[in-house]
């Protein structure tokens, strides 16, 4: 295995494009090293992105959003007051990935590129309307986060492409987001179901919403029908019931070692109700 430490994304993309065998990018490493250890994936080329300047930074964009470097670990997100104030749902999703130790390494970008439908940080990003900046052989492009996963373990990134930043839009006023997952224990599990909701209010009424679900389909889902079910409402019981119906209808889960399809569908609705209430309260000004 060859180990590379490029100093620019252009170099990283070039290395990846030129590589002929199995190539992996190394950011936090919490997935790549596990796969190497198990013998499941032994890359021919491992491209460590952490030496590229800026990859460990969180910066506010000119528009008032956030640009998050691809090597920023979960623990750093949780320690960033501005980001936590704007996007608590994004941060809490990332903070649920693994242990305290894993939080010292694991990154949003890695969680996204691992391609798991159960990735805890992805529903929050999708609900937030986050985009990724992609460096590739033909320069920079950007894409919504929900366009990246292509199925378990797969992404839509082309050979030679590498994500170079995650961008969160400005939160604006009267907005709130939240993420919850269901796991059998209290920590350390992969989500059996996850749900993130981001919404904005106009007075007491929901002006806009995005609802994302994890682990109920081959990829993290953005569910516009669920958003529509609560948009224009004050999140009353009827709205919550409509939300539940829309969420359950969107679920096409599998039964596996972590839960049955029936359980996932049922609990997706439960989480959607709980998460919607938290996001609503946050939009009304409640502390995260």
């Amino acid at each position: 295995m060859r180990y590379h430490t490029p100093s620019t994304f252009e170099d990283a993309a070039r290395l990846a494009a030129e590589a002929s065998g199995i190539t992996r990018f190394l950011a936090g490493g919490t997935d790549v090293l596990v796969q190497m250890r198990a013998g499941a994936v032994i890359p021919d080329d491992l491209i460590d992105l952490k030496k590229i300047p800026g990859v460990s930074e969180i910066a506010q964009t000119e528009e008032g959003g956030w640009r998050i470097g691809i090597a920023v670990p979960g623990a750093r997100l949780g320690a960033h007051a501005g980001l936590c104030a704007d996007w608590p749902g994004v941060v809490e999703g990332m903070e649920l990935v693994g242990s305290t130790q894993v939080q010292g390494r694991a990154t949003l970008t890695g969680n996204l590129c691992n391609g798991s439908p159960a990735a805890d940080s992805v529903p929050g990003l999708v609900a937030a309307g986050a985009t990724v900046e992609i460096s590739g052989p033909s320069g920079l492009r950007s894409a919504p986060v929900e366009d990246i996963p292509a199925g378990p373990g797969k992404t839509t990134l082309q050979p030679g492409e590498v994500i170079s930043a995650i961008l969160l839009p400005p939160r604006g006023t009267a907005g709130g987001d939240a993420y919850q997952r269901f796991i059998p224990r209290t920590e350390m599990d992969i989500a059996v179901v996850g749900c993130a909701i981001s919404l904005t209010l106009d007075g007491n009424s929901i002006a806009s919403a995005r609802v994302a679900l994890g682990a109920v389909a081959p990829t993290v889902l953005l569910v516009p029908e669920a958003a529509a079910a609560i948009t224009g409402t004050t999140l009353d019981d009827d709205a919550l019931a409509a939300l539940t119906t829309a969420v359950e209808a969107a679920c096409t889960p599998i039964s596996d070692k972590r839960g049955t399809a029936e359980f996932r569908t049922e609990v997706a609705g439960v989480l959607a109700r709980r998460v919607a209430k938290i996001a609503y309260a946050r939009a009304k000004g409640a502390e995260a």
Binding site: E187, M188, F263
Partner: protein
């Protein structure tokens, strides 16, 4: 804790720092994988990806051609002609004609680095003919189940039983039909428990060295170095005494490190590699796929009860699979199942069944948790049905000294009633419960065990003492043995050093299993210490010119007694030891034997849970362990055994299980998905140490390690019923199962 205030002993019952504490908090303690030897090679193992497959061809040529590879072994490198359990151990170490489970070792390779060994292992080609497999115990006894090992049944199995039944047991007393006829309420239920793993955090590891002359050495994490020695010698056809086995510090065992899994592979590789030492360390995935989990069980229980809660009759039929080899602890499950109850009429039937899974190993009170889950669940359900307090029902039927045990013999000194009464008096039972919360209780039992024991001790020149024991220290047994020896000698605890020694230093010892280290090694150490004291009294008598019978040992000194009392000032151990070179040489003691007087231990647990009605998730709110220790030598480590056992039982009850795919492959062979309890899952675990001293031990020790894993399984099921009204009969009680039950009952 009252114990600490009112002890009649100076040291026994106190809580000093453990002797190996400093090494273990500084990272200095050396465990299995921490050893390196000059010229050492590293090994990796090739394992079957199939649950059941004929091995057609193994091609090792590409691996052997790799630069740095020094040896490859397959079954062809092991002797033929073994029978019985020796063959089972060899077959489990490395597959012969067939791979019998996912993860079964097929070949092993040694190379100059760990990565190289892993690369070489991937180059070994194995052709398999995949055969039909069976995983579930009930499936394995169906008529169309694949016969895993025809001819493996022993003489206990009558003609005409299903092919995979390899042992059968049937026992009891009284007339159960007459007993059921006397009952006001008869209930019958079926229960299932899934296989769980001991889950010790330290993977199996060893460094083995074996020369062409048949002499070898091994460093290994094990509960029993003599068992490792004999099993490796048997599997490899070696002379036992030519193998010297040194136990490392051990990172947990719970029964799973009482046997061999891959140790002979390192020796076989070493012999083939010109005698270079070979280090073999399992990955976690290998531990879960290919070392001993416990059995899974399918159980039917029927109980008859009168309106006042008296049990009139009981019947149990248990079917357990322990992998592709005989040895599921169905007998012990049955022996323990009704042990807390005085029964006039009881009948037990058990089947040990083969399935395409790894060979089960002992796990903390082997069998007892499964049996208790079934019986304690049903007793609880019937108590509720009759409107009786479940604790009172256990007191009504509880066994006392002199009662006939459900499994036949008459109980000696036991402390069940004292344990139940201490439970009843505990303030946890008065805490009010909220919505969706419930409380459950259950009792549990374990025999405890003695076994072959060899201990030596010697007095040093300055009057300090060394003790050599053969039972590895897993949970503080050095501390408890040092306390007992120091108490007996009348010297400070710090003046005793307890060493866990290699096989060349003592006679045969059984492992640290069966909760026996503090009982058996402790008892033998006290006997050995008595010999040294007798010798010190003899030397004092010679010094004083009096009869040695007229000398007694008091507070660490010989003093004249009887008619000579007060005639001479006492001679301290330090004074006697300082002159031993001039008075007859070394002063020591030793004891070899099968210590008698094992005391059984009963426990009773109380758990409060809250069940989320929308997700089926169970939270443990409060947990109480009450158990008879006989005597707590070091109460902190007794509490630790209670707490650790309870939490393993909580894991078994709620989340831990072996999950297999349709293809017979284990799907959760990492800690991510084999879900042992984490710190945030739990409350503090309250403990009460009941002390009904065991008359068979000089300090009253019973053995405390195992009983604690038994009650949590039914106690949590009982609490979930209290919270939800639902009776869960299949472990683990995962959220999907509980939510499905809630939905089926029209709730949730």
């Amino acid at each position: 804790m009252a114990k600490d205030e009112f002890t009649e002993f100076k040291l026994v019952g106190t809580r000093p720092d453990r002797p190996d504490g400093l090494d273990k908090v500084t990272g200095r303690a050396r465990y299995g994988a921490d050893m390196s030897m000059p010229g050492m090679l590293w090994a990796a193992v090739v394992r079957s990806p199939h649950a059941h497959a004929r091995i057609l061809r193994i091609d090792t040529s590409k691996a052997e051609a790799l630069e740095g590879v020094k040896a490859v072994v397959t079954r062809a490198d092991f002797p033929e002609g073994l029978t019985g359990e020796e063959w089972n151990l060899q077959e489990n170490t490395i597959a012969g004609d067939k791979a019998l489970y996912d993860g079964h070792a097929v070949a092993a390779v040694a190379a100059t680095s760990a990565l190289l060994a892993q690369d070489a292992a991937r180059l070994i080609e194995v052709d398999y003919e995949v055969l039909p497999h069976v995983i579930d115990v009930d499936d394995a006894i169906k008529p169309d189940a694949p016969a895993i090992r025809p001819g493996a049944a022993d003489a206990t199995v009558p003609e005409g039983m299903p092919a995979n039944v390899v042992r059968y047991i049937d026992f009891g007393h009284g007339d159960v039909d007459a007993g059921f006829a006397e009952a006001d309420l008869v209930m019958e239920r079926s229960y299932k428990t899934e296989a769980t793993h001991q889950g010790y955090i330290e993977p199996h590891a060893c460094v083995g060295q074996l020369g062409a002359d048949g002499k070898g050495e091994m460093w290994v994490c094990t509960q029993g170095q003599w068992y490792i020695r004999k099993m490796c010698a048997d599997v490899l056809g070696l002379e036992t005494a030519q193998l010297r086995v040194t136990p490392s510090e051990i990172g947990g065992g719970f029964g799973g490190k009482t046997t061999i899994f891959m140790e002979p592979l390192s020796l076989a590789l070493s012999r083939k590699a010109g005698g270079r030492p070979v280090k073999l360390v399992m990955t976690r995935s290998e531990v879960l796929r290919a070392t001993g989990p416990t059995a899974s069980a399918s159980m039917d229980v029927k109980i008859g009860m009168t309106k006042d809660g008296t049990i009139t009759a009981a019947r149990a039929e248990f079917r357990m699979q322990g992998g592709a080899f005989p040895g599921a602890p169905v007998d012990m499950a049955l022996y323990c199942a009704f042990a807390p109850y005085k029964l006039k009429n009881v009948h037990h039937i058990g089947y040990d069944v083969l399935a395409n899974r790894p060979k089960c190993a002992a796990y903390r009170a082997p069998g007892s948790p499964m049996g208790a889950f079934a019986v304690e669940s049903l007793v609880d359900e019937m108590s509720r049905e009759l409107g009786l307090d479940p604790l009172d029902v256990r007191l009504t039927n509880g066994v006392r000294e002199g009662d006939r045990a459900s499994y036949g013999p008459t109980f000696g000194s036991i402390g069940l009633i004292e344990t139940l009464e201490a439970t009843k008096a505990h303030p946890n039972l008065l805490v009010p419960l909220g919505p969706n919360q419930g409380r459950g209780i259950a009792a549990g039992y374990w025999f405890n065990h003695s076994g072959e024991t060899s201990v030596s001790m010697a007095i040093s020149e300055d009057g300090s003492a060394q003790v050599s024991v053969g039972t590895p220290d897993i949970g503080g047994s050095r501390a408890s043995i040092a306390l007992m020896v120091a108490e007996t000698l009348g010297i400070p605890y710090e003046d005793v050093r307890v060493n866990v020694v290699e096989t060349g230093s003592l006679g045969v010892n059984e492992p640290t299993h069966g909760s026996r280290a503090t009982f058996a090694s402790g008892k033998a150490a006290v006997v050995a210490t008595g010999q040294a004291i007798k010798e010190m009294c003899r030397r004092a008598a010679a010094e004083w010119g009096i009869d040695e019978d007229a000398v007694e040992w008091v507070n660490g000194a010989a003093q004249p007694a009887g008619p000579n009392a007060g005639k001479f000032p006492p001679l301290t151990i330090r004074e006697i030891a300082g002159k031993m070179g001039e008075t007859g040489g070394p002063i020591s003691g030793h004891h070899e034997g099968l210590p008698e007087g094992v005391g059984a231990s009963f426990g009773c647990h109380v758990v409060d849970v809250e069940v989320d009605p929308e997700t089926g998730h169970t939270t443990i709110l409060r947990y109480l362990v009450v158990q008879d220790a006989g005597r707590a030598i070091h109460p902190s480590y007794v509490e630790g055994q209670y707490q650790g056992g309870a939490v393993q039982g909580i894991g078994w009850a709620l989340n831990e299980e072996y999950i297999y795919g349709e293809d017979g492959r284990l799907q959760n062979a990492i800690f991510l998905d084999y879900r042992v309890p984490v710190a945030s899952d739990l409350p503090m675990i309250d403990t009460v140490i009941v002390e009904v001293p065991n008359p068979g031990h000089p300090f009253g020790v019973r053995g405390v390690g195992e009983t604690g894993i038994t009650p949590p399984l039914p106690a949590i099921a009982n609490a979930i019923q209290d919270a939800t009204g639902l009776r869960m009969t299949h472990l683990p009680m995962t959220p999907p199962k509980v939510l499905a039950a809630l939905k089926a009952a029209g709730r949730g």
